[in-house]
């Protein structure tokens, strides 16, 4: 899967499942401050990542992920 395909899938679940406005989504959007992915939302993200990308994130994985770009690159690294 290319990084562009990962971005596309992530954008899709941010809009459709987490109901985040598409206008707020960009590569440099901050997960917490701009997209509102707080500790409550992390549970959904863990489920969605497992469904879409086939691996289970741990809550502590989010500590170093600041932007959407960080998040997508993290997924890319995990799925090789």
């Amino acid at each position: 899967m290319t990084i562009d395909e990962i971005y596309e899938k992530v954008n899709e679940f941010l809009v459709e499942d987490l109901e985040i406005e598409e206008s707020k989504i960009s590569e440099d959007a901050r997960l917490k401050e701009d997209l509102g992915i707080d500790s409550l939302e992390v549970v959904d993200v863990v489920v969605l990542v497992e469904e879409q990308f086939g691996f289970k994130m741990k809550p502590e994985d989010f500590k170093d992920l600041i932007t959407l770009d960080d998040f997508c690159k993290f997924i890319a690294n995990r799925i090789g």
Partner: protein
Amino acid sequence: MKPFSDIPIGELLPQQPPFRFVDSLEEYTAELARIRFTPEEGKNLLMEDGCLSAAGLMEHMAQCSAVRQGYYSKYILHLPVKIGYIGQFRKLRINCLPKAGETLETTIFLKEVISNITLVDAEVRLGDELIATASLKSALKDD
């Protein structure tokens, strides 16, 4: 282990009538819980024009999630039932509202638990008809 039918539902969640919107736990597994409820005029709040209101249906789904959690605490972990709070409803779909006297069968599917936050999906059926669905998150009060 007690049969589900022998468990007083009031053991599993703090809400009392007339603000209790669950009657009995029918099934519990690690993946799901199945709960029945028959709304009735005079027995339950949140009734409107002979039907359980949308707010009542949402409260029913939330209490079904609480029943699942309560059973898990009391009968699996053998711990006291904790107070929980609904943190979020998402993807709520209500196709129709049940009339007084109609029995709902609601299945709660456990999706994920992280720390004290639990994510479940709820499906409410009236006979074979799926009348409502939602995804909801609850948080347990820390000791």
